[in-house]
Structure formats: structure tokens, C-alpha cells
């Protein structure tokens, strides 16, 4: 496409008061633009029309708008099929630097040159669209979560394939005697309604159910996952557009709880065993079959315990209240004791607690169970300390129920069996104690495998009602990914982005950095180690671009060349001018908005820093650092999101990888006898904008100590 460049400079919002617009316009005139215009109110109707007219009348197809932040007036400066580059003269220049100062003017001029350089090299992305997108959702697991997900998918007009490893559908719900009330007033135990759900699923023509089956292999990408199912009839192959992983949980191994006498005394059972017993008849002592007239429940049997499960299983308090209630329903003279650490019945479940405890025969106390021993005639003696009764107590019971916790199936099984370069399961689940959870509070369906959505108890300990809610949302996300890839667009967080990475494989050296570092496992490899892209898995973070030492991975509108040219567009003054130049690569999701906020608050900071927004700090290629240093840039700041266990990077590994790579860069700097701290990684949250001036000042001070870049002028 023949580019015809238009540059539009807004003088409103004190840009005109802070800068020498004439000089800036003159500079714009040297940039090869067909049109250079200034306007005092570019985002007003009239201003926006000016650009619109130039596009339609003058054939302008590449627009550089030097005005406010790209985060505002996005709807005003929205011209279809036009390359648009926003130069932020307002928040990042006029509002945050001394007006009519030489340095401020230089900053604006650099930003304008950088914007033009980028715009000249940017191309409009064309979406990658695969043919024959499958609108079937694979659901792994036939418990309440999986059943719900399959049903909801089918209700929305899509097909589902449900794979359950057991012979029966229903999972743990099917083994329950009663379930905790799910609706207001949360007073009475309910009969499990799983039977109705199962028949709805099996009766739905759009749901294909495989029982006694397992997912053997999932290959491909969203929109066209090739799924191999090991069924009793042999291997079945099918195609799915998305995967919902609802493989659920298993009870914690009570054999590890020998301090509570499990395995030692037959009358010590788990809450799961209790449920089965209650479903099948009266509650009795396993030792002699005699009716259990008194039952004790130990909460947190392994949970909240570093030795066993460090987390809380969320539903065991409710479960024991339920079981105590039916112990009493089955036998009006029975007694039920519950020993808890904290009674956890959050939200409206409090109402269930309130109603369950109002029973003569249920005895509750906080306490630590210190020992379980045998009493007279098959009874058990449970000793409890730190009770609310003001003293240690012991009770004699017929049956002791350990309220054991939930362990996700993913703790020792990849479940998905992905035929991916990076392995068969979801990565880094140890961060979540093995649960297939999201790291994001705001985005609970985020997973490191695009198009794969864990749901239900495999994701976090959940009650049945909560699982239903979670699975309904997962069904939406599965449908959403299918509809997105069908039109070649990315899903969250770069929703709607139709750019994708292109690989110039002739120059690939098979170093495998891209295939290893992609946080989403997008790339597979052939035998030689050449990356094999799967664009529908891609989230467009460009971390592969940052990884590639051969610089062969590029997007149409985000490439090594585009940013390198922006770097080169910076005018580096002579050493004698005593004007250091620093480039700040800033994450456009958090750090860039933080700089906007600094501007909005009119916080003033050093004008020698040039900001380059990047998709993710992980997308920064070290060649840009080298380019910068050889261009005489004195220092480089890399401002991105927090990394570590509680990472805030929207692409999970981006800022962490950037840090790792920069360590290498710093080593190189040391070899070149350049101070390694000239390149500095900084973690910044979006609301840390008030700290920006001092962060920059500190860095500039440090840089001052190093003196100018010795390569300046070479």
C-alpha cells in the first residue's frame, strides 16, 4: 500500500501554550507528510472532520495525531482502514513538563519524529482466519460442572462432547445423600437434583456423551482442536473449537491423617464415606454395624495445615453442618458434634448455618482436636482443646467423621493431554496448590492455554451452586473463543486484535526460545526445532518477538523494525550539550496509563526520558537495547508489571521474562565495560503514578553518576 502521510497537531489543552507550535509544525514538514495541519481543538467535531476530509478527499491513509493520549478520544480518532499513530503531546509532554522550555520542546519533537517513523513502517493487520472452525465444545468431566457446561453450551446453540472417566455421570453429586440448600431461605437440606441434570444432558441431541472414557490427546488450536478420546469402543477422534476442563476433585487421602485415627479405628471415616453411608441407609458404626448414636465431625481434617493442604476447602463446614443435620433427621435421639477452627459459611450460606445450628442435638465449638482414642465398647474418645466451653473437653462418640478437603485432579494428572510443545497440562499450577486456577482476580477464566477453560472444583474448592455459576461462565468463554477465532481476532486481554506474529522461517536458527518462552504455549516445533505457529492460540503479546535473537518474528503493526526506527528517530544531542537521553520501554497496559495519570495530575518529571509503549515488557527485543546504546542513548528503563508469584503481567510471564533477559543484557554491558545499571527494570503498578517523578529522578541521578554513554557519537 502506497502510504500517504498526514500529520495533525492539536494545540488545545495547553499543548499550544507549552510548545513552540510553529517550530513543531516546521519539523513535521520535514517528515515527508502530504499534509501537516494544526488545530486548536482536534477532537472537536470540526477537528475530527479535518482528518476525515483529508482521508476521503486527499487520500491520506496514514495519520499521525499529535494530541492527547491514545487512551482518550479513541472513538473520535477512529478511521477505518487507516493507519493511526497517536503521539501523546498532552499527558506526556505539555502536562508533565515545564512549558516553553527547550527540553520540553525537544521532547515533543522527538515524540513527533518517533510517531512518524512508526507510522511509516506500520501496516494494517489482516486477520488470520482458519477455515472450518468447529463450533463444538469439548467438556472433560461429567460432574456437576461439566454437565452444566455441556448443557449451557447446547442451550446456546452449540454442540458439546462430554467425556467422563467413570461409567456414570454425575461425579460426587451423584454420591450425595442430601445437598446443602442452594436458594433462599437456605434453611432445609435438598435432595440432589443431579439425576434430572443427567437426563437432560443424555437427552440433548446436541450433546455427545462418552462415559468410561478419557481424553487421550488434544492437538491443534482453538477453533480446530483435534481430540482423541479413549472410549470402551476404542479410540474416537473428534474436532472441537474449545475445551472446558471440569475434571473436578478427589478427596484428600485420609490415610495421611493418622493423628485422627483414620485407618487405625474402623469408626473413623471421611465425609465422603459418610455421604455414601447416608445415601445407602442408616448411619452405623463400621466396626459392628450398630446405629451411630453420636457422631463427631472434625473440620479442617488436613486443610489449613501446611503438612497436608495449606488451603481451606471452602465447603467442608457447610458439608458437616449438612451431615450433622441429617444425622439428626435420621435419628431424633442422636447427637452430632462439630469441632471447627472457624465456621466458614460465607455469604448467604450464613443463613444455612443459622438454621442448622438451631437443633437441640447439634453441638458446635471451635477447638483443636488433640487426640482420638478408643473408649468403651467400640466408642471413640475425642479430646479437644481451646474450646469455647472454657476448658478442654472430651467426648465419647460412636462415629468420627473427618471433614477432609478437596484435592484437584490436576495435582498429579495433566487431564488435558495436550500435544503441545510445552507439555500436556496447564503450566505452573503449583502457584495455586495444584488447582487449575487463574492468577487474575478480574479475569477468573484466564488460562495459560488459549481456548481451554478450567471450571468447577478443579479450579478452586467450590460448592455445587458455585460450580454451576462457574461452569455457566466457562461455557460463555468457550463460545466466545470460537466466535473470536472464526473472525481471526484475539481474545482477552487484547480482545479484537487481528494482528498476529509472522515468522520469517528461512532465517530461523531453531534456538527454540520462542517456543519455550511463549506463556500460552502457542508454538509447536517440528523435529528440527523450527517453530510451528498456531495463530489461534496466540494472544498477541509479542513475547516471541522479544525472545527471537534472529528478529524474524514480527507483526504487521508491531515489529522489530517499527520500534527500532522509533529509537533511531530520537535526536541524541552531543555529549557537550549535557542533555542525557533515556528510553523508557513502558508496558502499555499499566505503566503507560500510569504516565497518563501523572500528566493528569500535572506531576512534573525529567524531560530527558523518551517513552516507547510496548505490548508487554516481554515483547522488548534486546536488539532495541543494543540499537539504543549504539545510538548514544545513555540509559534504558524498562517499566512493566510486577512479576513473581503474585504477578500482575497480563501475559503472565512477560515482565518476568524481560527481567531474565535483561540480566543477560546487563552481563553483556559489563563485558563492554558499560555500567550494567544503565539498563534498569522497574516494576510499576497502574496506580503508582504518584511515584513516577521520584522513580525517574532516582534513575537519572544514578545515570548521572555513570556519565554519558561512551558510544555517543559513534
Amino acid at each position: 500500500m502506497e502510504k500517504k502521510l498526514g500529520i495533525y497537531i492539536c494545540t488545545g489543552c495547553s499543548i499550544g501554550d507549552a510548545l513552540d507550535i510553529e517550530k513543531l509544525t516546521a519539523l513535521a514538514g520535514t517528515q515527508g507528510a502530504a499534509v501537516v495541519k494544526t488545530h486548536e481543538f482536534l477532537c472537536g467535531d470540526e477537528g475530527a472532520k479535518v482528518i476525515e476530509n483529508d482521508i476521503s478527499e486527499e487520500g491520506i491513509n496514514t495519520v499521525v495525531i499529535a494530541a492527547c493520549s491514545q487512551r482518550v478520544n479513541f472513538d473520535v480518532f477512529n478511521y477505518p482502514d487507516t493507519i493511526i499513530e497517536r503521539v501523546n503531546l498532552r499527558e506526556h509532554v505539555a502536562w508533565s513538563h515545564t512549558p516553553n522550555d527547550e527540553d520540553t520542546q525537544m521532547l515533543a519533537e522527538d515524540y513527533l519524529r518517533m510517531g512518524v517513523a512508526k507510522a511509516k513502517r506500520m501496516e494494517l493487520p489482516e486477520p488470520h482466519i482458519e477455515e472450518d472452525i468447529s463450533r463444538t465444545v469439548l467438556v472433560i468431566g461429567g460432574g456437576i460442572s461439566g454437565l452444566t457446561a455441556a448443557l449451557e453450551v447446547a442451550k446456546t446453540g452449540y454442540d458439546a462432547v462430554l467425556v467422563e472417566k467413570e461409567a456414570e455421570l454425575g461425579g460426587f453429586m451423584n454420591k450425595m445423600h442430601k445437598v446443602i440448600p442452594r436458594r433462599y431461605p437456605f434453611a432445609k437440606l435438598e435432595d440432589p437434583s443431579i439425576g434430572a441434570v443427567i437426563s437432560e444432558v443424555t437427552g440433548d441431541p446436541n450433546i455427545k456423551v462418552y462415559t468410561s472414557s478419557q481424553v487421550e490427546k488434544v492437538e491443534g488450536q482453538p477453533g480446530k482442536f483435534k481430540v482423541t478420546i479413549a472410549s470402551p469402543q476404542g479410540a474416537v477422534e473428534t474436532v472441537a473449537g474449545a475445551v472446558i476442563m471440569a475434571s473436578g476433585w478427589k478427596p484428600y487421602d485420609a490415610n495421611k491423617l493418622d493423628n485422627y485415627g483414620f485407618g487405625q479405628f474402623p469408626n473413623v471415616i471421611t465425609n465422603v464415606m459418610m455421604e455414601e453411608m447416608a445415601k445407602n441407609g442408616p448411619i452405623t458404626r463400621p466396626s459392628d454395624g450398630a446405629p451411630a448414636k453420636s457422631v463427631a465431625f472434625i473440620q479442617c481434617a488436613g486443610q489449613r495445615d501446611e503438612e497436608h493442604l495449606p488451603y481451606c476447602s471452602s465447603v467442608c463446614c457447610l458439608g458437616s453442618l449438612k451431615q450433622a443435620t441429617y444425622v439428626r433427621e435420621k435419628d431424633a435421639n442422636a447427637k452430632a458434634y462439630i469441632f471447627y477452627k472457624d465456621m466458614r459459611t460465607p455469604g448467604q450460606y450464613e443463613l444455612f448455618y443459622k438454621s442448622a445450628q438451631d437443633d437441640e442435638g447439634i453441638f458446635l465449638t471451635k477447638g483443636n482436636v488433640t487426640s482420638v482414642g478408643e473408649g468403651d465398647g467400640n466408642s471413640l474418645i475425642v479430646e479437644v482443646e481451646d474450646t469455647l466451653l472454657g476448658e478442654p473437653v472430651k467426648v465419647s462418640v460412636d462415629l468420627l467423621v473427618l471433614a477432609t478437603g478437596m484435592v484437584p485432579t490436576t495435582v498429579d494428572d495433566p487431564v488435558l493431554n495436550l500435544a503441545y510443545r510445552q507439555g500436556p497440562g496447564l503450566p505452573d499450577l503449583e502457584l495455586y496448590n495444584g488447582f487449575a486456577d487463574s492468577n487474575f482476580i478480574c479475569f477468573p477464566y484466564e488460562s495459560r492455554r488459549t481456548g481451554v477453560f478450567p471450571t468447577g472444583a478443579v479450579k478452586m474448592p467450590l460448592s455445587g451452586a458455585e460450580s454451576i455459576e462457574d461452569a455457566t461462565g466457562a461455557a460463555l468463554k468457550a463460545i466466545q473463543v470460537i466466535e473470536s477465532v472464526a473472525v481471526g481476532k484475539a481474545v482477552h486481554p487484547r480482545s479484537g486484535d487481528s494482528s498476529y506474529p509472522e515468522f520469517f522461517l528461512q532465517r530461523c536458527t531453531q534456538c527454540k526460545r520462542c517456543t519455550e518462552e511463549c506463556p500460552f504455549g502457542t508454538l509447536d516445533e517440528d523435529e528440527k526445532g523450527t517453530p510451528q505457529p498456531n495463530p489461534n492460540r496466540c494472544r498477541r503479546c509479542a513475547i516471541c518477538l522479544g525472545a527471537c535473537p534472529e528478529r524474524i518474528i514480527n507483526f504487521k503493526n508491531y515489529s522489530i523494525d517499527i520500534l527500532a526506527s522509533a529509537i533511531k528517530a530520537i535526536d541524541v544531542p552531543e555529549e557537550e550539550a549535557n542533555k542525557p537521553r533515556v528510553i523508557a520501554f513502558v508496558c502499555e497496559n499499566d505503566a503507560y496509563p500510569a504516565f497518563d495519570m501523572a500528566g493528569i495530575n500535572r506531576l512534573q518529571y525529567n524531560p530527558n526520558v523518551r517513552m516507547i509503549p510496548v505490548r508487554c515488557l516481554g515483547s522488548v527485543n534486546t536488539v532495541w537495547i543494543a540499537d539504543s546504546l549504539s545510538a548514544g542513548i545513555d540509559g534504558i528503563m524498562m517499566i512493566g508489571c510486577k512479576y513473581g508469584d503474585d504477578y500482575q503481567c497480563h501475559f503472565a510471564k512477560g515482565s518476568e521474562l524481560a527481567n531474565y533477559r535483561m540480566e543477560k543484557v546487563q552481563e553483556t554491558l559489563n563485558r563492554l565495560v558499560l555500567e550494567s545499571d544503565r539498563v534498569k527494570i522497574l516494576q510499576l503498578a497502574i496506580d503508582d503514578y504518584d511515584k513516577l517523578p521520584s522513580i525517574i529522578d532516582e534513575y537519572m541521578e544514578q545515570l548521572d553518576g555513570f556519565g554519558p554513554n561512551p558510544y555517543k557519537g559513534f
Binding site: K354, E360, F363, K366, V384, L389, K394, V395, S396
Partner: protein, 377 residues
């Protein structure tokens, strides 16, 4: 760490407690709001939170030996603020009612007075007894001349039977209270106790007479006046009866009726008024809801107070108005109420007079009441 205490919840006791006014107790979730809002609890091991879990767990012995239960004057600040509707005030009231039953001598009497089912029996006995007495020593027909109740039943007969009753009741109460005291000592030990019972009683007496504890209540301040009225009403009535019986009848040989202007007579009338006004306040409060829960024990006492006061007054006015036709039946009723009061003293809510005093004495000696706390501080 002390020894593990074997806990065996007493389901029957829980049921009894619920019947005796504590039916909300299982709702407690041990937040201790009650202990904080209570103006009568000591800081150390405060009540009524701990009593609530003992009640929930059917810890009969703990509760019946707990002097704190008697420090509670059922202001209901706790019940008002309870986030769960567990009404600790009522539950402690139920514990007190259970004490009348549990320590009762003889025990069956305690049971009789605890439930409406026994009411025909409880009222039938005095009715029959009085009827027989009248058959033997009295006369249902009103003779000509001045209306004198001594014509209905001779004073000697009444005095004979009622004074005997009173002595028996006081004896039974003494036995009951002794059991109560021993239980408290058994559970709490004598070691911690400070001073002797009698001086302790003397030291708490001014507080009782001034109803100091009632004044601490926030939620139901009106109860102060209600209880004060009934308390001094009874005190006055007892004094009147005592003076007339001991001093005038036997001492000076002056026989009733007395003129209205007689100071002792005036005291009697004021006492009756005080009783009625007190009972009226208490009743109104109950309907207003400031006294949350009213069980059998409470209503029995209220009806008794109204009955005593009204029939007492009525007999006097009937005599003055010379309403002969209804004079004896009303007097009969009055005697019935007095019988109830005397004979059932150790088992009805009236017994709290003794239990509470003794409980408070124990609390004083165990330094559990606020005054002794202040003294310590």
C-alpha cells in the same frame, strides 16, 4: 492445661431448658456481644456468653452451680443486641427457673411447679384443704351484724395452718438453698471465697434494697419500677401481716378489723397498691416487649401478685361496703392465693428472693460481682 472434662450433653436438660424459657439458646454462635453489652458482668470470665454454650451443650451441672446466673437481672441488653436472636437474657432466666426445680426439696414439688400440666393439682390441694378447714372450723353463711372475716374461718385456724405452712416452706427452702450452696461450693471450691456468708449478705443488702443492679440496665429501665413496686409491696404486706399477727393479735390481744386510719393498716394498703402498680408495670412491659420472654414461671408470679393484691384489697372494701354476698368467696380466693404464696414459695419464681440473694452472696465471696471487683481494684 487442666484435665479434659468429659462432656456428655444432657438432651433432656436441653429440652427442659427450652420449655423453661430458653428455647432460643441453640441460635447462639458465640460472638460474645452479650458479654460486652452486659452492664452487670465482671470482666473476668464474663457472662452470659459462656452460659450460652453451656446451655447449648446441655451442661446442667455447670449452669446450676454458676453464681453468675444470679448476677443477671435480665435487663435484656444482651437479647436486644444479640445478632442471632438467641436471647441470652431469657436463657439465663430459664437457668434460674431450672434451679428452682433442680434444688427443690422435696423434688417432686419442683416438678409440680414447673409446668402448667400440674396446675390442677397445685391449685386443687389448697382448695380442698381450705374447704375441709372451713367445714371443720368455719361457716359459709354470713351472720348478722358487722361483717367479720373471722366469722368465716377462725383466725386461729388460719394462723395455725398458714404459720405451719410458712415454717414448712421456709424449711424446704432452706434445704433447697443448702443444696444450691453446696453445689456452687462443689464446683468452684471454697478456696477462692472471700469472707463469710453473713457479712457478705449484709454487704450486698443495701444494693438489693436500692435495686442498684436494675439501674444498670439500658434496654429495660422500666423494670426497675416494676420490680421495686412488687418488692416493697411484698415487704410491706409481710410487715403488716407480721405486726398484726404477732404484736396485735397475740401480743396486745387487739383483734381485727382495724380502722382505716391505723398506721399499720395504712401500710398494708400502700403495700397492696405498690404490688398492683409493680405488677401492672411488669405486665405492660411484657406486652411492650421490653421483657422479651415470659414463661410459665413468670406468668404464675404475675398472676399471683395481681391475685394477692386485688383480693386483699377487695376483701377490705367488701367489708367496708358490706357486700355480704360476695364477701366470703372473695376472701376464700384471697386465702387461696396466700396459700399458694406460702406453700409454693421454695418452688415458684418467688424463690428467686432466696436463690438470688444466696447466689449474689456467693458471687460476692467469689469476687464476681462488680462491687467486689471495684473493691479489689
Amino acid at each position: 492445661m487442666s484435665e479434659h472434662h468429659i462432656v456428655e450433653p444432657d438432651l433432656r436438660f436441653i429440652k427442659d431448658m427450652k420449655r423453661a424459657g430458653g428455647d432460643s439458646m441453640k441460635k447462639c454462635f458465640q460472638c460474645a456481644t452479650c458479654s460486652v453489652v452486659c452492664n452487670l458482668t465482671p470482666d473476668d470470665s464474663p457472662f452470659p456468653r459462656k452460659e450460652m454454650i453451656w446451655a447449648q451443650w446441655g451442661q446442667k451441672d455447670r449452669l446450676l452451680s454458676d453464681p453468675d446466673v444470679w448476677l443477671c437481672h435480665q435487663c435484656n441488653d444482651c437479647s436486644k443486641n444479640c445478632p442471632r436472636g438467641a436471647k441470652p437474657g431469657d436463657v439465663l432466666g430459664a437457668v434460674r427457673n431450672m434451679s428452682f426445680q433442680h434444688f427443690a426439696f422435696p423434688r417432686f414439688m419442683g416438678t409440680w411447679l414447673s409446668r402448667p400440666a400440674y396446675l390442677p393439682l397445685v391449685l386443687g390441694i389448697p382448695f380442698a384443704l381450705l374447704w375441709i378447714l372451713i367445714g371443720m372450723y368455719g361457716n359459709w353463711t354470713v351472720p348478722e351484724g358487722e361483717l367479720k372475716y373471722s366469722n368465716f374461718l377462725s383466725v386461729v385456724a388460719i394462723e395455725g395452718i398458714y404459720i405451719t405452712l410458712l415454717f414448712l416452706a421456709v424449711f424446704a427452702l432452706g434445704v433447697s438453698i443448702n443444696r444450691f450452696w453446696k453445689t456452687m461450693v462443689h464446683y468452684h471450691g471454697e478456696k477462692g471465697l472471700m469472707g463469710a456468708p453473713v457479712p457478705s449478705l449484709l454487704s450486698i443488702l443495701p444494693g438489693i434494697l436500692a435495686h442498684r443492679r436494675f439501674k444498670e440496665c439500658d434496654e429495660s429501665k422500666d423494670r426497675y419500677w416494676g420490680h421495686l413496686g412488687i418488692f416493697y409491696g411484698f415487704l410491706g404486706a409481710a410487715t403488716t401481716t407480721g405486726i398484726f399477727t404477732v404484736v396485735y393479735y397475740y401480743g396486745l390481744g387487739i383483734h381485727s378489723p382495724y380502722p382505716m386510719s391505723h398506721p399499720v393498716k395504712m401500710l398494708g394498703n400502700v403495700s397492696a397498691l405498690s404490688l398492683l402498680v409493680g405488677a401492672f408495670i411488669v405486665t405492660v412491659n411484657r406486652f411492650k416487649g421490653t421483657e422479651k420472654k415470659s414463661g410459665y414461671y413468670d406468668w404464675s408470679l404475675i398472676i399471683l401478685v395481681f391475685g394477692l393484691g386485688l383480693t386483699g384489697w377487695a376483701t377490705q372494701f367488701i367489708r367496708l361496703a358490706d357486700m355480704r354476698s360476695i364477701a366470703y368467696p372473695v376472701y376464700f380466693l384471697h386465702l387461696l392465693f396466700v396459700f399458694y404464696l406460702f406453700a409454693y414459695l421454695p418452688y415458684s419464681k418467688m424463690a428467686h428472693l432466696a436463690y438470688r440473694s444466696v447466689g449474689m452472696v456467693f458471687a460476692r465471696q467469689a469476687q464476681r460481682d462488680l462491687v467486689s471487683q471495684e473493691e479489689i481494684a
